[in-house]
Symmetry: C2
Subunit: 490 residues, 2 copies
Amino acid sequence: MAENRITPRAEDYAQWYQDVIAQAQLAEAAGVVKGCMVIRPHGYAIWEAMQADLDRRFKATGHQNASFPLLIPMSFMTKEAEHVEGFAPELAVVTQAGGKELEEPYAIRPTSETIIGHFFSKWIDSHRDLPLLINQWANVMRWELRTRLFLRTSEFLWQEGHTAHATHAEAREEAVRMHHVYRDFCHEIMAMPVIRGIKTANERFAGALETLTIEALMQDGKALQAGTSHDLGQNFGRAFDVQFQNDAGEREYVWQTSWGVSTRLVGALIMTHSDDDGLVLPPKLAPIHVVIVPIFRKDDEKVRVLEAANRIAAELRDDGLNVKVDDRVSLKPGAKYYEWERKGVPLRIEIGPRDLDSESVMTKLRVAAVDESGRAVKEVRPMADLGVSIGKTLDEFQTQLFDTAQARLTAGTVHVDTWDDFVDVFKDGGSRFVYAHWDGTTETELAIKNETKATIRCLPTDGDGPEAEPGKCIKTGADSAQRVLFAKNY
Amino acid sequence: MAENRITPRAEDYAQWYQDVIAQAQLAEAAGVVKGCMVIRPHGYAIWEAMQADLDRRFKATGHQNASFPLLIPMSFMTKEAEHVEGFAPELAVVTQAGGKELEEPYAIRPTSETIIGHFFSKWIDSHRDLPLLINQWANVMRWELRTRLFLRTSEFLWQEGHTAHATHAEAREEAVRMHHVYRDFCHEIMAMPVIRGIKTANERFAGALETLTIEALMQDGKALQAGTSHDLGQNFGRAFDVQFQNDAGEREYVWQTSWGVSTRLVGALIMTHSDDDGLVLPPKLAPIHVVIVPIFRKDDEKVRVLEAANRIAAELRDDGLNVKVDDRVSLKPGAKYYEWERKGVPLRIEIGPRDLDSESVMTKLRVAAVDESGRAVKEVRPMADLGVSIGKTLDEFQTQLFDTAQARLTAGTVHVDTWDDFVDVFKDGGSRFVYAHWDGTTETELAIKNETKATIRCLPTDGDGPEAEPGKCIKTGADSAQRVLFAKNY
């Protein structure tokens, strides 16, 4: 990458992704800490906006936040057989503390089912203690060999919900409820359409009976798993002896769920909306909604223009918008436009001496229509009721981003019925969302992955995928009851 | 502790503290992870309320949040000579990851000056990049031998501000600004008066030129350091080569500050306001402001009373109050009163069939005046405008808690001029805030600590401590320019 250049998507999508992050100052590789990243203020502000909305949704569905230890005794990791198999290779291990070798080493949590199971066993005694609905915002660590900013890092930030219920039906209901919460968040706030579905046994969370997932389609045709919600059954209840006395006075193991989304959502956001000019943010997640760039030459103009810019900013803030006045004198307006476009600010206001006379301003949307000569359309807006007019434009922009992403998802989804066509989709680094028949065996799933790098993203939930229709597996020709969703994935 | 009993403060203050935490379900020792704790939902909600207010203050003073790695290369810890000496004995160390021994082990961050210094050196090049004002909400780890819930745990949650400036004057101004922000937060939100001052060289942060502190007086006469703000000078700038080009085109090391408060503030809150009946919370930090306890015998009463309780709750919520309707049928009203008093809910509403007829409710404040017969005063309030009337009462309660704590601070502070009197204050486990003269040497400071367990909490800031007047050191009789603040401490 040349300094300050953003590689076009068509040239190198992976490099484009890195350039957008670097130019918008969202994050950078830690370098000195293997596989870890620093989330810079502009990137962290997007994560904070995500957190605020998700947290509100979690609380509205009855969950409470708590904090559990970062460290987990190694012996805990081994109590649930599938869990340890899934996570053991990725653990970071503390073997010394306070200047001494530890008798039993600790793992830095890769996820907290085990330690939370331990505390649930202390807190739950009666059916009156259920349901227990807990969420934790935390950092977790999974030692990764190949990392990519936001998408896969050794340490990442996330939330992990952990709940315990008296019946399997209630636990299922909870897992489905949070699956819907995640979908609604992606649609309403991230403007990112997702397909809901069920993971195959092979892609399931280590220790779960069933994993529900939401899958998004990135601009390059690859899928990104954006969130998962697990029906844990009684697996962790048995491993950590979490029992309660039911109505009939009998002791039973609780039924549990867990569910999580992480900072990888920031990566998903970038690869859903951004373009060759840099970051594009939906207004509902933009740390700055509006940047005001004052334009002036002489000193007397400067005073008048800055006064107006600050007055307009104050008015817009009263209307609930986050506004930045870029009054730096070291940069020309054009350089400022360029910088704020890269940072994804949804709307820019340009204001100069002539605008003061006409009591109007010029505005430009981050993703604007172009006129006949190919130039981005700017709009003249009266200063009166500017907050209302901009608020309306930002609402429309939020919808426009969703509609564009939805159209791309629709256009990027195909039904495939033959192995040749299937191979064709995924050759030469290609990928799309492919609905195809599969015989239901892990063996076939792995053979397909091995030959094409495409994985089964999910068995789509009714309504999100195609209507159920029987068919023949594209690979083996065996019977299949439903098409499943294939794609290469991040 | 007998189950459900809160040990009276006069009997055993340390046990009372533990009992209050257990009975209010604020937190518990992790047990299986040495020195760590679980913060339960009620305790975490208090921390969240603290975070929300502090975060608003940090942003209002121009700071932005970011996230830095949990792990720090061990070699970083040794780059600042005093820093490593201060923190090395408390480090938890990761020596294995991803199934392999690491070539260079990592420390789990005990604080982040070193790793953040490293990134500052990458981000700062010109005076235009300054000031750089960053804050991080994070978990940190300091392996402690003797731990106490919230006050001293091996892992704790905190915020750490890290800033870089072009001049020492600007860095000092920043350190003082945040010192004031902490004081204002303690006074306005926690209703906890604090004394601002400067730490002695002996009590200073490892690597700082100067440490500013706020010190609060707990009910047992001991001091609690509630927050610190450090002038780091150029120490970390030199250690991590953080240079900038100044106006004159010369390269200079930046001047830095760091400042932090942690979950120990929850402990400070408990030991400032709570009583023998359990937790007492100032309304501005109470997760639940009002609990409504419906009172009924017959089923027809139940319907009417619950309907009214829910209607009132909705009205109060519209007025911005957090309200809980305790409609559990398994508990009698008295048991509910008892439970919510222990949890520190500031105000209780009792509502029964007769109240419906009179269109009024009975309310009781968590810390109520008592009548002639020694019984807590309850108030009858009309249902009309209940939100306004309760809002006013909660504001008064917030003020009342501060005034009570301030009166205790005043009564618990003495001026002492002789060694015999000094020893007398601290004998038999006693402690107060003692203003006494000191000769300014570390040798005398340590001798005093050795003999009495009292430490110098701070050299009080003008206006917070007594007027400067010269005198003679209580221990050596040498000259002293100013009284300093002594106490035993948490």
